[in-house]
Structure formats: structure tokens, C-alpha cells
């Protein structure tokens, strides 16, 4: 492996989560629909139909382009990409060719430390970002193919990276970060298993140190991040074997068979293409006027990797915390709101989130914005704990109680009498009770088994349902046992 440098570029197709398809008013999502039921004359390419562009698809693509730091064209055009395939009912795909919605752009990909290598940033450039329509689905059935048009016309953004990735792991990392970004922006559900995010990988190798590009193969139909990693690794191994055996790599198109775990070569005749692109005469160009663009970009949030860095810089969070707290936009918003409400050390808020709140979210299958335990309530609980009003274990119980009831923490503390008891006489009375009930333990203690003091404190806490100030209870116990 070390003799070769790996060169990978990814072509991603992103289904936008609009309500309807890109050129007709059928709904975009047909995950639960029987085949060929979410269709109309337009998306099935009936004779005589015409496309009408969905405004929301443009808006979501604009948000994504801005987040990828791509340059938006004020005037962009649709083109026809002509080819025959049974899942493409018009015999051409409406896409954008030379004057696409956006071009350029990049993602600064953080690659975590692994195998003794330190962490680093890989700059992944974007060649082109354009809008197009999805094709239908085909399914093998013996010597036949079954075709379902439900997916025809789902809005897609195609985003093509430069040949910038240097390992299968980097390719996987890129997809993880892209998926995070898409969900963060709210432009796609980005579920690879459901095909919301699809990826073709262009893979080649070259001698280490070389700057030219060798012929590449294109791997299609990879449906999970793990599959992308595996398929690329397999193909790299094959290319190295071929080259070492003195053979040339040919520019094949390969299809990943998930079930068999093998790559299949598609017949070169079918992949040999002259798409004869030309302007789609049925659509006018997209005019992205300045006022509209500004309106759209009002909704562009701070980006996850930028927020991650800011959490480290501004709040002094460790990278690990910052990474986890920015996996998802709701969670990071939650964190930040709680930090503001709290006013103290952000790391304390982070600890509560990472240890307890995340567990609650996972167990409940919720997102942070759905919690009844609001950031303000969380901040209040931490403050109660800091002030000694409740002890730590009560604080943790409170998280659950607030989530269940939606009631403010202070109210619960008052109503249930959960406040920490620091009254000497109240604790002293309970201590006397405990001592009276435990003559054997008192005897052992006095005989020198002083480690029993912990057991006595526990008994007091138990009787007082956790509210006692444990330090004070210990002092009184030691005094009375002396």
C-alpha cells in the first residue's frame, strides 16, 4: 500500500426533503407507497407533459451551496442529459450542465487521529453543484427487471468533489460530515439506507509522489458509509494487484453488490456515453435575484464545523465534547442556550449533557428540541446543585422528574421537599435514631472498625430520602460515636 497514493473523488446525490417532486406536484417521499402509485403524467414522461420547477427545491439547493462556500450563479440553466434506461421515463434527465446553480466551494474535513497518525484537516474541493431530477428504481427479478417510477422526479442536488480524498477512511469521513451538514441545514434527511444520500466513488492509484492522475474506475450503487469504505478498499486492492501484475487499469464502471459483497463490471457498451446535453427548452433559466437570495440565506445557520471550533475556543470544551455536542444542530443549540442561562463553567453543562441528557435522548428517541427538560430548566438544576440546595444525586433525579412532568425544578424541589437538609438538629435527631437501631454496628465501630462511618452516613441519608447534607451528617455521627 505504501508504494501507492490513493486518489478518490466522490460524486454525491442528495435528495432534498421538499414536500413535492422537483417538476410536478406528486409528493417527494414514497418510502411507504406501493410501486407506481405516487406518479402523475409529468414524472412518468407521458407524451405532451411539461416540467414546472418547484421553488422550494431551488431554495434548499441555494442553502446547501452557500454552506459549501460555493459561488451561486444569478442565472443558471437546465439541460437535458439524453440516455436510454428503463428507470428514466423521458429518455433524458433534466439536469444542469455548464451553467449550474453553483460552482466551486469546499469542505474542511477534520480527520480524526488513528493508527498513530495525528488528526488533520483535509480540504475537499467541490467542482460543481447542480439541481436535477431523480430517476425511478429498478429491481432484479430473474431474467427480468421490475420498474417503479415513484422516485422519478425527486429533487436531487449533485455535488462532485475534486480528486482530493486519500483513503477509504477519508471518503467515509467526508460522507459522515456531509450527512451531518445536510441534516443540520434541514435540506435532506440524508439517510443513506433510504437513498436520500447516494454516492459514486471515482477511484485510482498512482505512485507515491506523482502528481498526474491515472485512469479511474467508478463505483456505483453504494448504500451505506460502511459499504463505501469496503467497496473502495476492495477496488484499491484490485487495482494494486492489477498494476503489480503489469496490467493497466481501465476506466470501467463498477456496480457494488451489497448482498454478495462484490463489485460487478457494467458492460462497457452501456456506459459509453454521449449524453448530447442541450438546454432544456421547456424551462426558463433560474433567476436568483439578489433579494430572493438574501431572503433564502436568512435561514442559513452557523455551520457545524465552525460551531465545533467555536465551542472549543469560546467555551474551552475539549475536542471530544465539542464534536459530540455539534453532531446535531438541535443539540448544539440546546447546549448553547443552557450555557447562557447557566452563566457558569460551560464544561459543567457539557458534562450534564454528555452523561445524562444524551442518554435520555437516545432512550426516548427524541431530538433535543423535543425535551420538556428545557435548556433553562437544565441550567436551573445545575445552579441548584452548585448552590448546595440539592446534592448531586438529587440533581440527576431532578433531570428525569422535570422531563416527565415539564414542571420547573424549583417547584419540584419545594413540592417534594427535595432540598438538602443542613439543619443540625434535624440531622442530629435522625442520627440518634440510627444509632439506637444499630447497636451491633455501634459496638464494632467503637471497637475500631471506623470504616463503618460510611455505612452510618448511608443509613441517615436513606431515612432522610437523600436530602441530608452528607458532610454535616458525618460530623455529627463522628461526634456522637466518639
Amino acid at each position: 500500500m505504501s508504494d501507492y497514493e490513493v486518489v478518490i473523488g466522490l460524486e454525491t446525490h442528495i435528495q432534498l426533503n421538499t414536500t413535492t417532486k422537483i417538476f410536478c406536484a406528486c409528493k417527494a417521499d414514497s418510502w411507504f407507497d406501493p410501486p407506481n402509485t405516487n406518479i402523475c403524467p409529468v414524472c412518468t414522461g407521458m407524451p405532451g407533459v411539461l416540467p414546472v420547477l418547484n421553488k422550494a427545491a431551488v431554495e434548499k439547493a441555494v442553502v446547501l451551496a452557500a454552506a459549501m462556500h460555493a459561488e451561486l450563479r444569478p442565472l443558471s440553466f437546465f439541460d437535458r442529459k439524453n440516455y436510454f434506461y428503463p428507470d428514466l421515463p423521458k429518455g433524458y434527465q433534466i439536469s444542469q450542465y455548464d451553467q449550474s446553480l453553483a460552482f466551486g466551494g469546499y469542505l474542511d474535513l477534520p480527520v480524526p487521529a488513528a493508527n498513530g497518525q495525528p488528526a488533520y484537516i483535509r480540504k475537499v474541493t467541490i467542482h460543481k453543484l447542480h439541481l436535477e431530477e431523480d430517476a425511478g428504481k429498478t429491481k432484479n427479478a430473474g431474467s427480468e427487471r421490475l420498474i417503479d417510477f415513484n422516485r422519478c422526479g425527486v429533487p436531487l442536488v449533485e455535488m462532485v468533489t475534486g480528486p482530493d480524498l486519500r483513503s477509504a477512511d477519508e471518503a467515509a469521513q467526508y460522507l459522515i460530515r456531509l450527512r451531518q451538514l445536510l441534516r443540520w441545514l434541514g435540506v435532506s434527511e440524508a439517510d443513506m439506507e433510504k437513498g436520500h444520500l447516494r454516492c459514486d466513488a471515482n477511484v485510482s492509484i498512482r505512485p507515491r509522489g506523482a502528481t498526474y492522475l491515472n485512469p479511474k474506475t467508478e463505483i456505483k450503487n453504494v448504500n451505506s458509509i460502511e459499504a463505501v469504505r469496503t467497496a473502495i478498499e476492495k477496488e484499491l486492492e484490485r487495482q494494486i494487484r492489477e498494476v503489480e501484475a503489469g496490467r493497466r487499469i481501465e476506466a470501467w464502471t463498477l456496480e457494488w453488490d451489497e448482498d454478495a459483497g462484490v463489485l460487478r463490471k457494467m458492460r462497457s457498451k452501456e456506459t459509453e456515453a454521449d449524453y448530447r446535453y442541450f438546454r432544456e427548452p421547456d424551462l426558463l433559466p433560474i433567476r436568483l435575484e439578489e433579494a430572493w437570495k438574501i431572503e433564502i440565506l436568512k435561514s442559513l445557520p452557523e455551520l457545524p464545523l465552525i460551531r465545533r471550533q467555536r465551542f472549543m475556543d469560546a467555551y474551552g470544551l475539549p475536542e471530544y465534547d465539542a464534536d459530540i455536542l455539534t453532531t446535531e444542530r438541535n443539540l448544539s443549540d440546546y447546549f448553547e442556550t443552557a450555557v447562557k442561562a447557566y452563566g457558569g463553567d460551560p464544561k459543567r453543562v457539557s458534562n450534564y449533557l454528555m452523561n445524562d441528557v444524551l442518554r435520555m435522548l437516545n432512550e426516548g428517541g427524541q431530538t433535543a428540541d423535543q425535551l420538556r427538560l428545557t435548556p433553562a430548566f437544565l441550567a436551573e438544576i445545575i445552579k441548584l446543585a452548585d448552590a448546595g440546595t440539592v446534592n448531586t444525586s438529587t440533581a440527576k433525579t431532578l433531570l428525569q422528574k422535570v422531563e416527565e412532568s415539564g414542571t420547573a425544578p424549583a417547584e419540584i424541589v419545594a413540592a417534594e421537599g427535595l432540598g438538602k437538609v443542613s439543619d443540625d438538629s434535624a440531622i442530629r435527631a435522625v442520627v440518634l435514631e440510627v444509632l439506637a437501631e444499630s447497636p451491633k454496628e455501634v459496638e464494632s465501630y467503637k471497637a475500631g472498625k471506623v470504616t463503618l462511618i460510611g455505612w452510618f452516613v448511608g443509613q441517615v441519608m436513606k431515612k432522610m430520602r437523600g436530602k441530608a447534607d452528607p458532610t454535616l451528617a458525618r460530623t455529627i455521627l463522628e461526634e456522637l460515636l466518639a
Binding site: T18, T19, T20, A25, C26, K27, P34, P35, N36, T37, N38, I39, C40, P41, T44, M46, V52, L53, N54, K55, A56, A57, V58, F84, P86, K139, N140, A141, G142, S143, E144, R145, L146, I147, D148, F149, R238, L254, E255, D257, V262, L263, R264, K265, M266, R267, E270, D274, R279, P281, L284, R287, E289
Partner: protein, 106 residues
């Protein structure tokens, strides 16, 4: 530039077009294509400077005359079954076609 379409190019076009022609058809079509190309050749001689852009439509479609984009509102088609009923071969809601051959890599 090539002045006429030769047989080889013609056969390539026929394949790209997903057609299959008998000899008589092929002869007629090739002859007519080359006759049309003679007419088309006149275009090449027309002086065109930088100030002549391409027109996708003759009518310029000023922004005020361009229809608004579609709002993202779901309007299901009344009878999708009517569409699929046109297909020559269907099974369990799917349209059926013969397979596209593949070869597995060793």
C-alpha cells in the same frame, strides 16, 4: 469539419438512437441526412461576431412575463392506475422489462 456522414458514423448514430434498420431504410436515411447536411452547411459560412448570443427561445421572456415557480404543495394525480395501465407488461404494480446484462469481476 466533415462534409458528409459516412457509413460507420451512420451505424454509430443508429446504435445511439436505439434503432435497427433494414438496408433499404438505411440507404434512404443516409442519403437524406447528407442532403440535409448540405443545407445545414450554409450556417457555417454566416459571419457571427461576439455580440450575437444564442437564443434558446425567440421570445426573450422578461422577468415580468416569466411564470412564477411552483409552490411546494402536494396535489396527487387523480388516477395513477390509468398511467400504469398503458404499460405493455406489468406485474404487481411494477413495469416489467427484460434484464440489462452484467458481468461480475473476478
Amino acid at each position: 469539419m466533415s462534409d458528409s456522414i459516412d457509413r460507420e458514423t451512420f451505424d454509430h448514430l443508429v446504435g445511439l438512437a436505439a434503432l435497427e434498420l433494414d438496408q433499404q431504410q438505411a440507404d434512404y436515411l443516409l442519403r437524406e441526412l447528407n442532403n440535409q447536411l448540405k443545407a445545414i452547411r450554409e450556417l457555417v459560412a454566416i459571419p457571427l461576431d461576439e455580440s450575437v448570443p444564442a437564443s434558446l427561445h425567440g421570445v426573450p421572456f422578461a422577468p415580468t412575463e416569466s411564470p412564477a415557480l411552483r409552490e411546494d404543495i402536494w396535489l396527487p394525480h387523480q388516477d395513477p392506475g390509468e398511467i400504469i395501465a398503458q404499460a405493455p407488461n406489468t406485474r404487481e404494480g411494477y413495469i416489467v422489462v427484460p434484464d440489462i446484462p452484467h458481468t461480475t469481476l473476478e
